[in-house]
Amino acid sequence: MRKVVKSLFAVVMGISLITGCSSGNSSSTNNAAQGANSSGRTELSFYYPVAVGGPLTKIVDGMAEEFNKENPDITVKPVYTGSYQDTTTKVQAAVQGKTPPDVAVMLSTELHTMMDMDAILPLDDFIAKDGGSEYVNDFFPGFLANSQVDGKTYSIPFQRSTIVLYYNKDAFKEVGLDPEKPPTSWDELVSYAAKLKKDGRYGVEIPSSSFTYWMFQALALQNGKNLMSEDGKKVFLDTPENVEALQFWVDLSKKHQVMPEGVNEWATVPSDFLEGKTAMMFHTTGNLTNVKKSAKFDFGVAFLPAKKNYGSPTGGGNFYMFKGTDEKKQAAAWKFIRFMTEPKRAAQWSVDTGYVATRKSAYEEETMKQYVKDFPAAAVARDQLEYGHAELSTHNNGKVTKLLNDTLQSVITGQSEPAEALKKAQEEADKMLAPFNK
């Protein structure tokens, strides 16, 4: 009998060790989330993703440290949470576990999803208390478009990008094109690309994996209007303009043969450009720093060519705040967001990372002026923002986006025809959005 008791004791000890460990873990995370501790200091947890190359975690951590120095009563604890997708997943898990982060950077397109989860706070009260709309109106409207629903603002733009046209000036010279005159219309794009094409080099590449819908959005915007309503409850996929836009995309490879057939990988398109395998490409401004560093030839950056008008969707991440945190911490979090988006910091962030500075006043900062002077391409993205629009963001966003991506890829790979495919996609999307239109 004593033996049994003894072994029981051993087993219980073993289990308590295990549970001891796990409870230790959870209590430490609780502390971080709980914030206000006995000394009156407010602790904030801050989730952020990294989506581009470079030592971004160091820069973010450094900014948080600076904030902590300026605000001795607040301690921001930055938590690197992987990719955008991972960050959303982690935030979602934290929200369900009733321990949401105090502030987080997530894709601007998560807006409707986060609202459907009832996870995020509208920021209007903070804005009103903090000098009113002047602050918000300083952001480029193209960036702010993904933050606002029904007149309310839910997120603040932070690391933002847009699509621009990169072109190889040396290649332009080589075929007798003026390197200072990039194509401004779809027709020019086709004719230039045809001239630039030769053995081993394509005229232009538009990536068609990962962010297929984003590229399509650009073409759609240039041919008329955006793909969704502002409240994210409706999409307009099968309009004749959109069919025309998609046909144009397909024709670039099938008819004009200036673009490789099949799906062009998001990540390899910039490599193709740098290797001289394509003379022009559509890509994110997030790649500006990379291309600048790696290009062994003279390159230019231009507006995406227009059909009816210029147009490009924005992209990237915004600051969000979450329900279920106490007021003191919400105030501190707002303070932190304001700090991170101050014009001089927005300017420095843009210079350091290649993201587009989100505020007009940032371009008045000395650092930014100098940067633009040395590297005029940086200004192109800003100037194009005049034609910038919200990125595709709807209710049931994940499903709708995937549906559109799949449809586009099926057309691009020649499995279906534009009109028919978009019509089918429209029907499916309507079904997906039906619950939100009740």
């Binding site: 049994v4 989860m117 490789p260 057939e261 990988e265 890829q409 790979t413 619950p435």
Partner: protein
């Protein structure tokens, strides 16, 4: 009376020893499976703030979902493409690595190394290999005048590209099991066979292969479950595209759960996958086990 107590003591002791692993099993396997099972009968997506019971609606919807059938078919082809080939290749490699006199350890390492590399890294390597125009494979294909083959961007090629990569990745791992299996076969058996003048093919067919059957069975199960479990490469290489041509069941579950936030459907899909794997494991264990010799 005393006997009963002694019996109770032994039983008690056994249960105590099992307790820790049992607790973990309950906590991290059975409980989640049951939860998932329950959730699969609920509508729990972005459109419904509070999950509610909806019977077998999720399963009905699944049957009507083209993408579901597509990923399931894909997965079956993926399994058919990877399992027999990687197992056969592993066996071949093990036989060769076992026989090679010179550079034995080099050969083993060379065969094994793809296994050590994380799937994410492997995917990045092969992403480069499969790049059209200047990828490593394209350089080879150029000799045949097919340098511009778009391996990942074409619905017809992408599955083959994935299958090939996974075979490359997995065969070395399975080879290790076969090497261990070969070590377990007594040298005397081969010597005895050589006294009889049996050809190497006869020796393989009548001795080596039957005696390796336990290994083959074990490896096949691993390979098969892996063909349902391995999806890391999709994240890096294709995101399931183009148009779901390379999408697999588990990645679709991931998309449904963490991109569509449709937890009810994701649960239903998970249950389908669990049942599928259980069926196959049961078939392999109970159906084939009888024909296998264990020492």
């Amino acid at each position: 009376m005393g006997e009963l107590r002694a019996k109770w003591k032994v039983n008690m002791y056994a249960w105590l020893l099992l307790l820790p692993s049992l607790i973990f099993l309950l906590l991290f396997t059975f409980y989640p499976v049951i939860q998932t099972f329950i959730l699969s009968f609920h509508q729990a997506d972005l459109g419904s703030p509070e999950p509610f019971f909806n019977g077998i609606d999720n399963y009905k919807q699944m049957v009507e979902d083209e993408v579901f059938w597509k990923v399931l078919t894909n997965n079956i082809w993926f399994a058919i493409g990877t399992v027999p080939t990687s197992v056969a290749l592993a066996l071949g490699m093990a036989l060769f690595a076992n026989k090679a006199l010179r550079g034995k350890s080099f050969i083993r390492t060379a065969y094994f190394y793809p296994t050590v590399v994380p799937m994410i890294a492997v995917a990045n390597i092969w992403l480069f290999i499969y790049t059209p125009e200047y990828g490593a494979l394209s350089h080879v294909m150029e000799w045949f005048g097919k340098g511009d083959m778009n391996w990942l961007g074409d619905q017809k090629n992408v599955m083959w590209a994935m299958i090939f990569m996974v075979i490359w990745k997995e065969a070395g791992y399975f080879m290790i099991f076969y090497l261990a299996g070969l070590q377990n076969i007594s040298q005397e058996l081969y010597e005895s066979a050589s006294m009889e003048g049996a050809s190497s093919w006869t020796v393989f067919r009548r001795i080596t292969f039957p005696l390796l059957m336990p290994t083959t069975m074990f490896v096949s199960i691993i390979a098969f479950t892996n063909s349902f479990k391995l999806v890391d490469h999709l994240v890096i290489m294709t995101k399931g595209g183009p148009d779901n041509a390379s999408n697999l069941l588990l990645y679709y579950i991931y998309e449904t759960a963490f991109s569509f936030w449709d937890q009810g459907m994701a649960s239903a899909l998970t249950i389908v996958m669990v049942v599928l794997l259980l069926l196959v494991a049961a078939f392999q264990f109970f159906g084939m086990d009888k024909k296998i010799h264990y020492n």
